[in-house]
Structures are given as C-alpha cells and as structure tokens.
C-alpha cells in the first residue's frame, strides 16, 4: 500500500497523484521539496545528496508503516532523489490519499518531519564553486518531536 522510491531521476507529481486516486479517496495531499537557491552561505547553485542505501530502504519503510498505522490512509507515496540536483529542482515528494482531508494533511506533515530527522540522507550545498555540508536544523528536531506526545 506504500510506494517508496529512492532515485536520481526527476518524478512526475501528477502521475503519482493519479496513481493514488481510487475508490473511497476524497483527499490527496502532496508535499514537494525543492532545492532553494539561497542559504546562510549565499547563492546555492546545486546540492548533492548522499545516503546510506541499506538503511534508507529500511527507514523509509518504517516511516511509511508508522504513518499507515497512525492514520486511516488509502495510499502513500514517498520519493526521495539522490545525487547532484540544481537549484529549483525537486528533491523529495510525499503524497497521501485518504477519505477525509485531516488524515491526509497530518500524515504528509508527519512523513516530512520524520524524513528530515530519521532517514539517512545528507545534503551538500554548492555555493560559489565550493561544497559545504548542510547543518541539521534544530527546528526539524522540534517538529519531529511533536508527534511523540
């Protein structure tokens, strides 16, 4: 019921949403994360994404299973890109289908919070011809923590 992919290629948001439509679905919420062209260090031309393949698969499955358990979902798609991505390109997408909107909004938000803090991806930003590892944000940790109460 969860479709999970890690890939260097771009994804097709509309096709992913269409794949989730089906009997009983009243709401589809999507999140698309894009490479921002500005960081604290200056203008970002691109990012590079490294990951830990064996663990990525496990952790994304676990995050998806947790979302399915917490909310009555009718479909869940999670795609994370890796490799070299230019500014403006999509990095990640989450799409969640459910009967009513509340579950879809909550599950999509939950999945992103957990992706940001528990899935083994690391970003490097290219600024002025130099690559810098991105620091983790404490706001992301706080966002993930709110689901454990």
């Amino acid at each position: 019921m969860s479709r999970i992919r890690v890939q260097s290629e771009a994804f097709d948001l509309a096709a992913e949403v269409t794949a989730l439509e089906g009997s009983g679905v009243g709401a589809v919420v999507t999140f698309t994360g894009l490479v921002r062209n500005q960081s604290a260090l200056g203008e970002v031309t691109a990012i590079e994404l490294e990951h830990y393949p064996a663990m990525t698969a496990k952790s994304l499955e676990a995050i998806a299973a947790e979302a399915q358990q917490r909310w009555p979902l009718l479909g869940l798609t999670l795609i994370h890109r890796i490799g070299y991505l230019a500014a403006g390109e999509p990095i990640v997408m989450v799409a969640v289908a459910s009967k009513h909107r509340e579950a879809a909004f909550q599950a999509a938000s939950f999945l992103m919070d957990f992706l940001k803090t528990r899935a083994p991806f690391w970003k490097k930003e290219w600024v002025g011809g130099q690559a810098h590892w991105v620091e983790a944000k404490t706001t992301d940790v706080a966002a993930a923590d709110r689901w454990s109460s």
């Binding site: 830990y52 663990m55 994370h80 940001k116």
Partner: protein
Amino acid sequence: MQIQILYFARFREKLGRDSEAFELAADRDTSVQSVLDVLAARGGVWQELFDCEKGVLAAINQEMVSRETLVYDEDELALFPPVTGG
C-alpha cells in the same frame, strides 16, 4: 570478534575512508559509546569528530540506536552526522 564500521557524509570525507573493520574485546560488553571512545582516542580528526556529546548518530544493522546500545560480532555499525534529507 569483529564489527564493520561505516562512515557517511562529513565523517567519510574528513576521515578519508568509508569503512573499517573493528576488533571487539572478547572479555566484556562493548557499547556504541565505548567504540566512540576508542575512535576518539586516536586523536586528531578522530577526536574532533567523536569526542562529542551531540552531532554523532549511530545505527546498528541499519536501525538507529542510542550510545548505550551494545554491539555484537558481525554487526554493521554506521556513524554519521545528523541527517539533512527531505
């Protein structure tokens, strides 16, 4: 008894390696923290990276663990900075 340690992202770059075999003492339990202590004792960049309360995450056999978790023969221990995907 031996485990495999994997290094990712900034750790991999700074250490100039992505993995190493690591011998466990046979006569006592070894926690993630005690592995970190041995690595930090190598000094230099090792100390800089691993003698650190925060900023080091660990996974054993691809599951996130705490520093108190014990490692066993043939485990895969991954060490990495806080994740920044999504």
